[in-house]
């Protein structure tokens, strides 16, 4: 075991904004399961191989409950932000499974597919808006954020004119540059907002997800009102920045790989496989998959012991050459469906069918509508965001 003074400290720097930190590949080649330090000086195991990451994330007794002693955290701000979260993402079975299954019917593949026409019209309208305004425009403001925020507002029946409020609070909560108390205050604002919504819909239930959770689960005693608030917070933070950043970074990635973009333009039917490859390549949820082992986990060459923290970065798994040939090459025709961009194990993203559909609709349309789409600034001027979900501040484009 490496001593705490010599082990490198999480988080690691990227060399190239669209590639994961090079330490993942270095470690995978030399010492694929090794110790690193976290912000408070604690030690945690860093995993770098696809198979180890899948094994740990599916191991019995691997915990996501950050109230447990010894749970590793990426930073003080993340610890504070996540400390305010009391939802099933931070729970273990059996309560995790009970809560997740209350929401799961709204996120099944078939249920989500019913939103396809809505999403198609939404994306057409947003692309029309871009055309009307004329380039250059900020793609994040005009497309990447409005798509997921409109979809979540529709599912939860929230007023879209409050989108700016949600976006601001979610972004503040997600940012790693804010002091812990600022992240906590943003979270309180979100919970207060939902508290008012829940009060109103308890009195006058509608046909939306929140009303059905109240009548089906809160009123029957299976879920407390506080638990519902935290569940709604999770849907909001899970649904906003993740897809928005995939749209923005996915567009940027294609623009920076003209050979791949040409293939997509020649055959828009490749958009589904392009989406899977972009999910793999970008792995925007770059600060998730921190776990605590509650039982021993045998990884062959190394045993993770009960009480030890583990970091299982999806970006490391998704660039493992044992699973993805030439993993650092973007290839929109490869079968990337085995990627773990949505995580793995019982906490794998609940909203993945929704995210997948949103991304498929966007990437089947954007370059058809704007075949000449290009960056309106030099790529070196782009500012990448230090956030729980990797992203970019602005993406000026023209056509």
């Amino acid at each position: 075991m490496t001593s705490s003074d010599t082990s490198p400290a999480w988080p690691f720097e990227r060399d190239n904004p669209l590639d994961p930190p090079p330490i993942f590949a270095e470690r995978r080649g030399t010492c694929p399961i090794s110790k690193v330090s976290t912000w408070n000086g604690d030690q945690a195991w860093l995993l770098t191989r696809y198979r180890d990451i899948r094994t740990v994330l599916t191991a019995p007794g691997i915990s996501s409950d950050l109230t447990l002693e010894g749970f590793p955290e990426p930073s003080a701000t993340v610890a504070a932000a996540r400390g305010g979260q009391k939802n099933f993402a931070r729970m273990d079975p059996p309560v995790h499974d009970e809560h997740r299954r209350m929401l799961a019917p709204d996120f099944t593949v078939h249920h989500v597919a019913e939103l396809r026409d809505y999403m198609s019209d939404l994306v057409d309208d947003l692309l029309d808006g871009m055309a009307k305004q004329g380039g250059p425009v900020d793609l994040i403001e005009m497309l990447a954020q409005p798509v997921p925020s409109s979809v979540i507002c529709r599912i939860l029946d929230l007023p879209t004119e409050r989108s700016d409020f949600f976006q601001d609070r979610v972004r503040t909560w997600m940012s790693l540059d804010n002091p812990p108390e600022v992240a906590q205050a943003a979270n309180r604002d979100i919970l207060d907002y939902f508290s008012a919504v829940v009060r109103e819909r308890t009195a006058r239930p509608g046909d939306d997800l929140i009303s059905r959770m109240i009548t089906g689960h809160v009123n029957t005693g299976k879920l407390t009102a506080a638990e519902l608030l935290h569940m709604l917070q999770l849907l909001l933070v899970g649904g906003f920045d993740t897809t928005a950043n995939m749209i923005a970074l996915g567009t940027l990635t294609l623009l920076q790989h003209p050979d791949q973009l040409a293939r997509l333009k020649a055959d828009p039917g490749l958009s589904n496989s392009a989406v899977e490859e972009l999910l793999r390549y970008l792995s925007v949820a770059h600060q998730v998959a921190f776990r605590l082992a509650q039982g021993d986990i045998d990884l062959g060459s190394q045993c993770i012991h009960a009480g030890e923290g583990v970091i299982a970065p999806i970006a490391a798994a998704n660039r493992d050459p044992e699973v993805f040939a030439e993993p650092d090459t973007l290839d929109i025709t490869r079968d990337a469906r085995r990627h773990v961009a949505f995580g793995f194990g019982l906490h794998q993203c609940l909203g993945q069918p929704l995210a997948r559909l949103e991304l498929q609709v966007v990437f089947s349309k954007i370059f058809v509508r704007f075949p000449g789409l290009r960056l309106a600034v030099d790529a070196d001027e782009l500012l990448f965001r230090n956030s729980i979900i990797y992203g970019i501040a602005e993406l000026p484009v023209t056509w």
Binding site: L57, T58, D97, R100, R101, M102, A104, P105, F107, T108, V109, H110, H111, V112, R337, R338, F342, G343, F344, G345, L346, Q348, C349, L350, Q352, P353, R356
Partner: protein, 70 residues
């Protein structure tokens, strides 16, 4: 190839429905996996094997078809 599932493990990720919709569905009550057809046509074996591989909670088990089922 024959499909068996462990619904108690399922967390409703929907991956199986996405890659092998002829064989898998999800309950409207809790999103949990439902098997539409247990015996897999040879041509569909790669898709069903992929569904089992990418199931995040290993809730899909693949066995050998009984001879009668072909």
């Amino acid at each position: 190839m024959r499909i068996e599932v462990m619904p108690e493990r399922c967390i409703g990720s929907g991956n199986c429905v996405d890659v092998a919709p002829r064989y898998f569905d999800q309950s409207d009550l809790d999103g949990v996996v439902e098997v539409l057809e247990s015996d897999v046509a040879t041509a569909d074996e790669p898709a069903v094997a992929e569904a089992a591989d990418i199931c995040p909670v290993a809730a899909i088990l693949l066995g050998v078809s009984s001879p009668a089922a072909g």
